[in-house]
Symmetry: C2
Subunit: 138 residues, 2 copies
Amino acid sequence: MSDLTGRLRRESRKITGPRAAILEILHAHPHPLTSREILAALPKDHCDLATVYRSMHLLETMGMVKRYHFHDGAARFELVGEGDDGHHHHLVCVNCSGVVEIAECFPDEIQKRIAQKNGYKNVTHKLEFFGTCPDCQR
Amino acid sequence: MSDLTGRLRRESRKITGPRAAILEILHAHPHPLTSREILAALPKDHCDLATVYRSMHLLETMGMVKRYHFHDGAARFELVGEGDDGHHHHLVCVNCSGVVEIAECFPDEIQKRIAQKNGYKNVTHKLEFFGTCPDCQR
DNA sequence: ATCGCTGCAAAAATTTTGCAGGTAA
DNA sequence: TTACCTGCAAAATTTTTGCAGCGAT
């Protein structure tokens, strides 16, 4: 946690009550959360929803969180470890929305080929898997 | 186009003016479009935005369109050819939002391994590439 | 003649913004 | 002290829904 607040301080941003609480929630949940879920997880709703949105923008700009879009429209945010680029993928249950983090990634040589063939630079990808989890199969 | 209206008829849905127009727009545009873009492309705004949304829901349920989420939050829709499952991916320019359709796909053997390792069934994936297109590189 | 579809308007849900006051550094 | 932050309220977006009337089959 202290490295998180350190990253804020380094950019001369302030460690306020709401911000520390939001970072704790994100740290405690290893899965992407919507702004509303973050608000709900906050102790006694002690922060405005607008503040959650503003915090997510700041943290995203600083590279401290990543934004994901699963099958519904809502944006979800997940903490990025320091020194990590945060690039990984998820396996999401279409029934209960349970999430498993996935180690596998799209093969780099194929991505390079795609970039080259189309003349695109700085190519990245977003990849998410969907299916029915063990608990939802009966 | 006639196969499209045929698919509607087979499910005893009606071929109305707005629906035919929407299908023509989707047919004319080989890229995913937002509901608002579809409305804008419609001749003399001759259909309500709510109707576009309702049509997209119907067509999605029937498997005639696929829904995509690129880097912004907006949902985009693309026509699925008959007999085709519509599964493919895109390479999107982060600057001008230009889109190229991609033939490559995530390797099936890796996906099978992911499904098996986690006990998930009916696993699919969503995969999109992002980068800077040739025109936007200077 | 049905039943489905449409426009319009209102509502719901998500995200952004303005402003005046409060607080970390 | 001085930026930066926050809550509150209002607005902007995107999407959904109710309802009465219209229209395809």
